[in-house]
């Protein structure tokens, strides 16, 4: 058909377009009733506070991730006040935004008093990256190796990983904060924090632990220890 009558396709398309003129408008109210916004309205995003005065934003980046035109950018110190982060590709606006956020927070950049900014020798990081072929898919082994080298994850190392692998800084931060065995605190600080955690009990090792072939007791994270402790208490340990 199409080949027999040249131009039929165009005519069909135009007919469809014309048809639309006689159909009711799908847009509700606009442009009949223009939105009446304040003269200073800039469509600014605002973070809200809850009734206790803490920021409701958990810096989860879901909104920035979902925004189709990437207009949401975030930078600042995370909810645990230990590390500053931003959303976006490395070496772009976000990077500078993060620095300005830090400045606005009253600290100088880089801040010698802020341990995460301590200058470190990045040689080992480069070696680790080389070994893993700068492959962002190998992010966990990379981060684990960095932690094994430095004892914790220094900010400078994460920046280097971001710049060389092309992985978004916030993504790396997300991965690094998610896994319980990765840490931003040097071992000494970590040990002190862990000492305050709920303590272990006798039976924990029994079920998850030594095996018929005699492996060592795996170390459990604090939350796992309190779960096992709750079971032990219910079973009457120490009664």
């Amino acid at each position: 058909m199409k080949n027999i009558l040249p131009g039929l396709g165009i005519a069909r398309g135009m007919a469809l377009t014309l048809n639309r003129f006689f159909q009711p408008k799908a847009t509700i109210r606009y442009p009949e009733a223009p939105v009446n916004e304040a003269s200073r309205f800039r469509g600014r995003l605002q973070l809200l506070y809850d009734e206790y005065g803490t920021l409701k934003c958990e810096t989860c980046f879901q909104c920035a991730q979902a925004c189709p035109i990437e207009c949401i950018d975030m930078g600042g110190v995370d909810t645990k006040n230990r590390y500053h982060i931003h959303w976006g590709p490395p070496e772009t606006y976000g990077e500078r935004r993060e620095e300005s956020a830090l400045r606005r927070s009253g600290r100088t950049v880089p801040d010698a008093a802020y341990i995460h900014f301590d200058a470190i020798d990045l040689g080992p990081v480069d070696a680790i990256l080389e070994e893993n072929e700068y492959d962002p898919k190998r992010m966990l082994p990379i981060l684990e190796a960095v932690q094994a080298t430095y004892g914790y994850l220094p900010v400078a190392a994460l920046k280097r990983i971001s710049h060389t692998t092309g992985a978004w800084y916030a993504m790396i931060y997300g991965t690094a904060t998610y896994y319980g065995h990765l840490s931003f605190e040097p071992p000494a600080i970590r040990a002190a924090a862990d000492a305050g955690a709920p303590v272990t009990q006798s039976g924990a090792a029994a079920t998850g632990g030594p095996t018929p072939t005699g492996g060592p007791t795996p170390t459990f994270r604090a939350s796992e220890r309190s779960y096992l402790g709750a079971l032990d208490a219910a079973l009457g340990a120490g009664r």
Binding site: E58, K137, Y179, G208, P212, P218, E224, S226, Y227, A234
Partner: protein
Amino acid sequence: MTRILEGPRDWPHILLRETPTPTGASAPDPTDLDAAVRAGAFDGLKRAVRDLGPTATIATISEARLRGRGGAGFPAGEKWRACVEQRSQVRYVVANGYGADPASGTDRLLLETNPYAVIEGLAIAAFAVGATEAWLVVRAGDDAFVRRLESAVGQASDAGFVGPDLLGSGRELTIHVATVEGAYMLGEETVLLKALEGRRGQPEQRPPYPAERGLFGRPTVVQNVATLAAVPWIVVHGAAAFAAVGSPSSPGTVLVAVRGPRGEGVAEIPLGTPLRALVDLVGGVEAGHTLKALLVGGPSGGLLPADLLDTPYDFESLRAAGAHVGSGSIVAVDERACVVDLARLLTRFCADEACGKTIPCRIGLRRVGEIGDRITSGRSRPTDLQLLADLAHDVAASGLCDHERLATLPFTSGMRYFGEELDDHLVRSSCPAGVCHPIAVPAGAAARA
């Protein structure tokens, strides 16, 4: 040390090998390939590759109605078929041996005592769906254990059971032993795949299921290690023999980790065994005390009362009773334990481990736990019980992953079966077990607390 509990003589051994008779001879090394092959290892793979071929292998697994042992009980055959139906050049198989619940050592025990059954099952699954790469994922932390597994995979590969030329079929299969650690949620299948991709461990919306779009976007079959360990047995003995074991809707055997005041251990039981028989395996409760509750399913398990001891241990019956198979952990406590306090601590663990992706899960579980805190410390508000019921329902109903669909079970089953005890805390300010101190404080002080 994880003890293997032996059940009655007529319980078949499908997953665990028969424990050797104690005649002084030391048990054979489970990673000794020659010994394992003499005992019948890789017969299933040979049969699948040489006699059945991929399609008939999947049909056999479907016919045996093998269901996932990781907790959800999804039919394995259907998963494999869904994977095969995808148009893709590359497919993967992942064996989930993470063992998220630290109180359940079942997966670890299986991998320690019968590693070749898992490796063979993994190879059969990979052969059936046409995967060339497979991962055996376990929890990091015990290097010797990981090395033993790597050595087992290496031996199987050197012997030609897997590797560049799978049993001479011209197919390739590389098995990687991978370790992950650092979060409870890593046991969940989509989270596990994220970890293998080096990303943050948050579950994905399903569909698409991993069998359609999984690891690195490729169709991926994720299967619990115990599910895979049953596969060779089915291929060798036939689907009918497997379907004859256990209950009609859930055939076969499973591993359970039972703990009671008098003992603990892992047992292989036919599905459909009444809970009573499982409690008897560890000797029940101490003389002079009565069994009060069973926690069935791990941290997000349900708390079942003693009068439900005749409930069969299978996927449907447990769900109907308000518990689930979950991690296979069963904990029996006597009347000196407080059910409300236990539910509160379990909920706290579930909230601590929530990944943070969905808000009802992240915040709702935390609030459920806080209501529990208030009830056990005598600061409860008149609306708390209703709030607990509503919130628990909403969290479960808005679940993205099974964690939040199930994490309210300790409280919902507690409300269902132990209402009297909850009332004791709420109304009479007393804890029958003497564990909590629900002493009422003046209303003004409670509001300030």
